[in-house]
């Protein structure tokens, strides 16, 4: 018996050695130049509920780091990017982050994909004094104690202001109804929409919620139909909003529908079919590259990104891919200027102004870690199963 345990320990030790050996090998082959590689970590939701978002972000980062290293890295030093999957789960995000900080010893973190994992990681990167660039919209991310955290996605507060501005000024609705997911994203969004809409003089006549796994929302829509609103805001991520617009068609509801960035993907159009037509949502220019005016400084950046991404992955990038592109390049630019020092990188990101990215033109400052504003958003409309510019 004892002998068997000994053999087992030996086997495990041998395996561990073999794995360690492999690792040492890969980092060696990854080193093209003699310079010490610069280590960056990313915690993304590659699987789980947010997989469609995290997947696009992962692909973007892999593509960009490849391109950067082929072009000589950062001043001759290759960038070693380690991507960890948090499976859309906050506790796994924390474990992955600790691994990146303690084992891989990265100088900066990109991620997370969702607000919940990001909020779980935020106090840790602050404690470890490591700069973090989040790819999420949740407004709490840059609300309190944001010294070490930045974001590239559009802060949802601006997104709501843009959306409600559009509804009241352009569509000229007099009231609205909300149908939202009961998860943190949907509930947080609905609360914020209510606050902003009420402040802007738009009464909410009905609020209904659904579970993320719902397969039918006819019941909720019937109640909303009874309240007879001028327009409906559907706040949630795929696939339920697609179910909702199909259910609306069934119930004969024809009011304008405004959705979240959660439907800013080709999948929504595929799932909802003809029912998707007419739906509008706020998002960045990246979704309508052909409609960008030539005078817009973002045009060359977005065109280049869309071309690269489409060539490599045979599909156009979504907004989330754009968030990852911006985070990566803002970080690389900061490291280029100050070198791989955590505190200096943080300070340099904070000084980043007029950075022309995919999501907009970033203006960070000591008091603004959002970088973007509502001017960086447009209203996108679905017409004949395609995205077109609805309103600027």
């Amino acid at each position: 018996m004892r002998q068997r345990i000994f053999v087992l320990i030996l086997a495990v030790a041998a395996l561990a050695l073999a794995v360690a050996g492999c690792k040492a090998d890969t980092s060696k082959t990854g080193t093209v130049t003699t310079k010490e590689p610069i280590k960056i970590g990313a915690v993304l939701s590659v699987t789980g509920a947010n997989a469609p978002l995290g997947d696009a972000e992962k692909k973007t980062l892999e593509m960009e780091v490849d391109k950067l290293n082929k072009a000589g890295g950062i001043k001759g030093a290759p960038v070693e990017l380690t991507i960890e999957d948090d499976e859309s789960d906050a506790s796994k995000a924390v474990a992955a982050l600790n691994k990146l900080l303690k084992v891989d010893k990265v100088v900066a973190i990109i991620g997370g994909t969702g607000t919940t994992p990001t909020m779980a990681m935020k106090p840790i990167t602050a404690k470890e004094k490591t700069p973090q660039i989040a790819l999420v919209a949740g407004n709490q991310v840059t609300k309190d104690d944001y010294k070490w955290i930045f974001r590239t996605a559009h802060n949802e507060t601006y997104v709501f202001k843009k959306a409600i501005d559009y509804l009241s000024q352009t569509v000229k609705v007099k009231n609205l109804a909300i149908l939202h997911d009961s998860n943190a994203y949907g509930q947080g969004g609905a609360d914020e929409i209510k606050r902003i809409a009420t402040a802007m003089g738009l009464p909410i006549v009905a609020t209904e919620k659904y579970d993320s796994t719902a397969t039918d929302v006819t019941t909720q829509l019937t109640t909303i139909k009874g309240a007879n609103p001028d327009c409906l805001i559907i706040w949630g991520t795929n696939p339920v909003p697609a179910v909702a617009v199909k259910n609306m068609k069934q119930l004969g509801m024809t009011m304008p529908v405004l959705g979240s960035q959660g439907i800013a993907n080709a999948k929504f159009i595929e799932l909802a079919g003809a029912a998707a037509n007419g739906v509008v949502f706020p998002a960045g220019w990246v979704l309508v590259p052909n409609d960008i005016p030539a005078s817009n400084p973002q045009k060359p950046v977005i065109d280049g990104f869309v071309k690269d991404y489409t060539a490599k992955y045979k599909a156009a990038p979504n907004s989330f891919a754009g968030h990852a592109w911006d985070a990566f390049h803002i970080l690389v630019k900061a490291i280029e200027t100050v070198g791989p020092d955590k505190a200096k990188i943080r300070g340099q990101i904070e000084k980043t102004t007029n950075f022309v990215g995919v999501d907009g033109i970033f203006q960070y400052s000591a008091t603004n870690h959002d970088g973007l504003d509502r001017e960086d958003l447009v209203i996108i409309k679905i017409e004949n199963g395609k995205w077109v510019l609805g309103s600027q």
Binding site: T47, K209, T215, T218, Q250, L271, G273
Partner: protein, 295 residues
Amino acid sequence: MLLSKVLQFVITGVANGAIYALIALGFTLIYNSRQIINFAQGEFVVIGGMAAYTFYVTAHLPLPVALLAAILVVTLLGVAFERFVILPLKNAASISLIIATIGMSIFLRTGAMLIWGKEAMTLPHFFGDKPWNIMGATILPQQIFIIAITLVIVVGMQLFFRLTVTGKAMLAASMNPEAARLMGIRSERMVMYSFAFSAALGAVAGVSIAPLVMMSFGSGAALGIKGFSAAILGGLTNPLGAVLGGLSLGVIESVGAGLISSAFKEAIALIVLLMVLLIKPSGVFGKIGTRRHAR
């Protein structure tokens, strides 16, 4: 207005309830043959829907062919599941078998993610998506189809178990495998049949609801829970009970959510389930199940 609203809640409830019923039928079949809950049932449903998507959208087969092909694939999956997982565990306790089905569900879910990716998918409506109007409330042809197919299947099952030799043999093998074996019935083969049937039923549910429900690799858990609740409500052993359980669950959920608050929609189903388990653990329609207690 209120009347047509309530009517809409009821119609929606019946339409959704039929989906739950269709999924619940698969649970009762396996429970009857092996006295276990098959937690991979939801995955059979999802794989049915997604396989149909592949055959129809990717392979461009005509819709009926694609649907049948998907049902066939999932049926074979059910047979493989029984042969490679359940049969080797024939002497194991029920709890081990149930854990094996949980393992299978994780395996299938992950497999589906690797094969079909992480995005949701849907199928076109079989008979168009123009809703029918019933006194101000609407119902889709697809929903009527689901209700109809559920009824056809439950009647078919009753006839099969009562009138055919195989059906009677399956019933006998489930009531008392040893005695059935003494009578010359190959009990193990009957268990395999019931897994095949139940997988096929799951796939029928999957392809029928795919036009209404967006399916992704992870949808099985939620669909499985609803079907399981419906089966429990109906008493687990009785297919007719499962159908009634599914329909009542759908209606209670929809009317409750509509008249009280949509915040409680998911809670209502679970509260009903808990109450049934507390007050009448054999299920509201579970009388027929008592006959097996003789065993």
